[in-house]
């Protein structure tokens, strides 16, 4: 930064250390390789922690994705027995179908455990949230930077535990760890305990991050930034953090009880000792339902940012979108029973069904608001915008198919079938992951100071979008026709059509995987030879675009930013009736150009 400026207090400390410039990029190396490694390993910079999370989460996503492809490969051909010879079993182990099934059961369990606990729960908050929450509210860092680093190491520890359990042979409990199966399977083996411990440890990472973000939003907003001046990404992450802090302790206690159950036979859940397995289901879903919103709210938050910035429009009904995040977070706590329509008491089921329909309203409101935002906007079909529009498509399907499951009589038919599998993949993958990838593209120039190849990004999007829908839409039909989930094989005598539908789905998963690899290639290409990104390539109005360089300096801003307008006040800043060609957006300037 050649521009003259008044030094802030931190500026003077760094000078004179091997070319280290506190006003340079946060990515700039501070010395040799060892120094750099030590710098990253001990950093309390939210941006570096966010980047480390991003890399780890994407690696875990790759791992979970490989298990997903293995599942689809097994399902492509039904297992049959002809003259005592097994045909079509991918994981065949000797001449015993059950042993092959057992391998399949481990594969789908590991897919679920990795994707839920190691990928989707931390995905957006820990990576993009860490990086951008402080930037969006004009703060130098999160409220507790050291706690943030601790969260990262706890996440790493949890991952190591999960990998140890995986190397020991993996578990076949399913990601839900339902008792008494999870207490009885492979009795005496410690790997199930390792895996449960992994989930237990990861919970603390989640709690610490959530706590950190709640305090950050309350205490570190830039001068002039009231609650309703906050970008919607901040609202979404804030609502998410509240759920993380309140719900995660419950799963911690539950998993601990489960470990005691396995090791010491305490008999809380195990009916052999007078325990109640339905109690476990209630405990489990009391956390795991709210956590569905931990997964989806940050995705929605990203979509609000992308749609506003790439269509240069004030978000329609800003307050409705903000409050709907809080409403969803609140209702999230009182609908867990809809996972138990086939196992809990009838009266409870009726109450939970009614409550479940309530959550549809704020969700629908968000979708209506996003689409109305497009009206009279100035829409650029960039890769992030394609992802936002793709999200509206897939997430709408995910949300609408929830109606079939919230209604009691249809749920008795669809519960635990492929319909559920398709529904939650449309929400988790079609919602969270699609938004996540869109968000990475949206903020990529800011994070790494390089542009990605737009054509490559679009090719990746179309492959992912087509592949995703081809993978999961057919699974709705499998579900309505009675295919239960977690089946290592399927009954083609009574369901001759299943093989073809499964093959469609498997073909889709291949296209989906190809799209993901295109994205990976585009990102690597950008890091190595991408052209330099401007500070504000999209013309955004939030602090990370208007007040920070690309990539940001170590302390984020040269001067503490002051909030002078709403996050999406395009109408005020761009005078009405300006012809499109005469757009004058706020200077996409390096940090410090706006004076106050």
């Amino acid at each position: 930064m050649a521009t003259p400026h008044t030094h802030d207090q931190h500026a003077s400390h760094g000078h004179g250390h091997g070319g280290y410039d506190p006003h340079g990029s946060y990515l700039a190396a501070k010395g040799g390789m060892l120094t750099t490694i030590r710098d990253w390993a001990t950093t309390i910079d939210h941006k570096k922690i966010g980047v480390m999370y991003l890399v780890a989460i994407l690696f875990m996503f790759f791992l979970g994705g490989m298990f997903a492809l293995a599942i689809r490969a097994e399902m492509a051909v039904p297992t049959t027995l002809q003259n005592g010879v097994i045909h079509g079993q991918l994981f065949q182990s000797g001449d015993d179908i059950a042993k092959g099934n057992n391998i399949y059961n481990r594969v789908f369990s590991l897919h679920g455990i990795i994707m839920v606990f190691l990928v989707i729960v931390p995905s957006v908050p820990a990576s993009l949230g860490n990086f951008f929450l402080p930037l969006l509210i004009g703060a130098k860092d999160v409220a507790f930077p050291r706690l943030n680093l601790a969260s990262w190491y706890i996440y790493l520890t949890g991952s190591v535990f999960a990998v140890i359990a995986l190397v020991m042979g993996g578990v076949d409990t399913g990601w839900t760890f339902y008792v008494p199966y999870s207490t009885m399977t492979e009795e005496g083996h410690l790997k199930v305990v390792w895996m449960i411990l992994a989930a237990f440890i990861l919970g603390f990472s989640s709690i610490f991050t959530g706590l950190n973000f709640v305090v950050t939003v309350h205490k570190l907003r830039a001068p002039g930034m009231g609650w309703f001046d906050m970008p919607l990404f901040v609202w979404g992450i804030y609502a998410t953090s509240i759920i993380q802090v309140l719900a995660t302790p419950v799963i911690g206690i539950t998993l601990l009880l489960l470990i005691f159950e396995r090791l010491f036979n305490i008999g809380v859940f195990d009916p052999r000792m007078g325990g109640d397995p339905v109690l476990f289901q209630h405990f489990f879903w009391f956390y795991s339902h709210p956590v569905v919103y931990v997964m989806i709210l940050p995705g929605m938050a990203i979509i609000s940012e992308i749609i506003a910035v790439h269509s240069r429009k004030q978000i329609f009904g800003y307050r409705a979108v903000a409050f709907s995040s809080l409403a969803i977070a609140g209702i999230a706590f009182i609908v867990w029973g809809h996972h138990l329509f086939t196992s809990q008491g009838e009266v409870a089921s009726v109450i939970f069904s009614a409550l479940t329909f309530l959550v549809a309203i704020p969700t629908a409101v968000k979708v209506f608001n996003w689409i109305t935002t497009l009206f009279r906007g100035s829409i650029a079909l960039t890769t992030p915008m394609l992802y936002a529009l793709g999200f509206l498509f897939t997430f709408s399907i995910g949300g609408l198919t929830g109606l079939f499951l919230g209604a009691l009589s249809t749920d008795l038919h669809l519960h635990d079938t492929y319909f559920i599998v398709a529904h939650f993949h449309y929400v988790m993958m079609g919602g969270t992951i699609i938004a996540f990838i869109g968000g990475i593209h949206h903020w990529w120039p800011k994070m790494f100071g390089k542009m990605y190849n737009e054509l490559g990004g679009k090719i990746g999007f179309w492959l992912v979008f087509v592949g995703f829908n081809l993978t999961f839409f057919p699974q709705f039909i499998l579900g309505t026709q009675g295919m239960p989930r977690r089946y290592a094989s399927y009954d083609i005598v009574n369901n001759p059509g299943f093989t073809f539908i499964h093959q469609l789905s498997t073909a889709g998963s291949g296209i989906l995987a190809l799209g993901m690899f295109v994205h990976l290639f585009v990102f690597l290409h950008s890091l190595v030879m991408g052209r330099k990104a401007a500070a504000n390539p999209w013309g955004g109005l939030t602090f990370e675009w208007t007040h920070a360089s690309s990539p940001p300096i170590e302390h984020n801003f040269e001067h503490e930013p002051v909030c002078t307008h709403g996050p999406y006040d395009y109408d005020d800043i761009v005078p009405a009736n300006t012809k499109p060609g005469e757009f004058v957006l706020p200077t996409p300037s390096p940090a410090g150009a706006r004076h106050h």
Binding site: P78, I86, G94, D96, I97, K99, N101, N105, Y178, Y181, M184, E187, G188, P271, G275, D276, S311, K313, G317, R319, A320, T342, S343, E346, V350, S353, A354, F357, V365, V367, F368, R376, I379, L381, L392, S396, L400, T401, L403, F404, G406, A407, L408, S409, T410, H413, D416, T480, Q481, G482, P484, R486, A488, S489, Y490, D491, N494, P496, D571, P580
Partner: protein
């Protein structure tokens, strides 16, 4: 209201094939295909609700997507569309909150009444008791009888055929011996979880006789979860009465080996033990009797009558090598009675070249009448 909606949506076969009826049957076919028609009035009610929700979804989804695509093209950057527009509009926002809420009230009540009817039993219901166990269903009728027929479905060897009457409500009372299972009859559009520490119930009233419907386990229960199946066979009321009279205990004409073979399916032994020499979840019965069996943790044991008896009643005591450290099998104490055990041992002997014993004479323990040791008695 519900009935009116049901008629509106349940593709009526009579009347002209107008566009709505065509669309309706297209929707039905798309989701359920030709092979998966329900066989109960409640199943059809569930499908009608499903189709109703499917229309709600299709219409609102199409509306959203058409608007989205239209906006994207109309207001593309560089075009003429951009103008300042309202940041919010309270009446519009209220409308799109309240209208969906009203639709959801309808869906909730419709689903609620179907759910209650699926679970509530009437006084004349035919009660059938079902026990789930890794990985088979055992069935007991009100008169103590158990199914005689077992049917192969694909690779599933011995799925019990559960015969039920049409036109009369059937109430299933279910419990489990080990982990959680779920009894799922797609053709009746219903399922219920089956727990080891309680009874759960479900009902259905089949309409059409002469059908065979698959039953699947829908709650993940381990290695052979996907092979834990049964068949529901619908028969007329008269056929059902005849059937019930036939199934009290094993056929009196059978000898001990035939009874033993029947019990080996009835108690689900064959879910894990083959008689072909092929290893499965448990050791094969082929050439087991009379041979020294290697044990987990070293040593051997002679597979004689006492070995078999102990393996059935206390499976954890001596575990065959390769099936430990803990046996997957749970105890059949109190389930397989002593007479039944005798028959099973006779059956196992015929599968071994060291068996050497001729089947004991053809006799039911207490004369020609249905034996008092009907297997089902032991289930209690």
């Amino acid at each position: 209201m519900i009935d009116a909606l049901g008629q509106l949506t349940a593709g009526s076969t009579h009347g002209s094939l107008g566009l709505p009826a065509l669309a309706q049957s297209a929707m039905q076919n798309f989701w359920f295909g030709p092979d998966h028609a329900p066989n109960s009035a409640l199943g059809r009610d569930t499908d009608a609700l499903f189709i109703f929700i499917a229309w709600v979804c299709l219409i609102s989804f199409a509306l959203l997507m058409v608007l989205m695509v239209f906006f994207v093209f109309k207001f593309k950057r560089g075009g003429k569309g951009y103008r300042v527009s309202a940041a919010h509009n309270t009446p519009l926002e209220l409308a799109w909150s309240i209208i969906p809420l009203l639709v959801m009230v309808v869906i909730f009540f419709w689903g609620f009444q179907g759910y209650v009817k699926k679970l509530a039993s009437t006084s004349g219901a035919e009660e059938i008791k079902i026990i789930g166990q890794q990985w088979f269903w055992s069935v007991q009728y009100a008169n103590g009888g158990t199914p005689r027929d077992f049917k192969r479905i694909g690779m599933i060897d011995e799925a019990p055929v559960i015969v039920v009457p049409v036109g009369r409500q059937v109430k299933l009372l279910l419990t489990s011996k080990d982990v959680i299972h779920s009894f799922y009859i797609p053709a009746m559009r219903t399922k219920i979880d089956v727990f080891p520490n309680r009874y759960t119930g479900m009902t259905f009233t089949a309409e059409e006789a002469g059908k065979e419907h698959p039953v699947y386990c829908a709650e993940y229960c381990g290695d052979q979860h996907s092979e834990m199946a049964a068949i529901i066979k619908t028969v007329t009321a008269e056929e059902y009465t005849e059937y019930l009279a036939k199934i009290v205990g094993p056929d009196p004409a059978w000898n001990s080996v035939q009874r033993g073979e029947f019990y080996s399916k009835r108690f689900g032994c064959t879910a894990c033990h083959t008689v072909t020499g092929k290893a499965s979840t448990g050791p094969t019965w082929l050439n087991m009797y009379g041979y020294e069996q290697p044990l987990e943790g070293g040593g051997t044991a002679l597979a004689d009558e006492n070995y078999i008896r102990e393996s059935i009643y206390d499976p954890q005591k001596m575990i065959h090598q390769g099936y430990g450290p803990r046996s997957q099998m749970s105890s059949f104490q109190g389930i397989i009675g002593l007479e039944q055990l005798n028959d099973l041992i006779d059956y196992m002997k015929t599968k071994s070249d060291k068996g050497g014993v001729a089947p004991s004479p053809n006799a039911a323990p207490k004369g020609a009448a249905p034996p008092a040791d009907a297997p089902a008695d032991a289930d209690r």
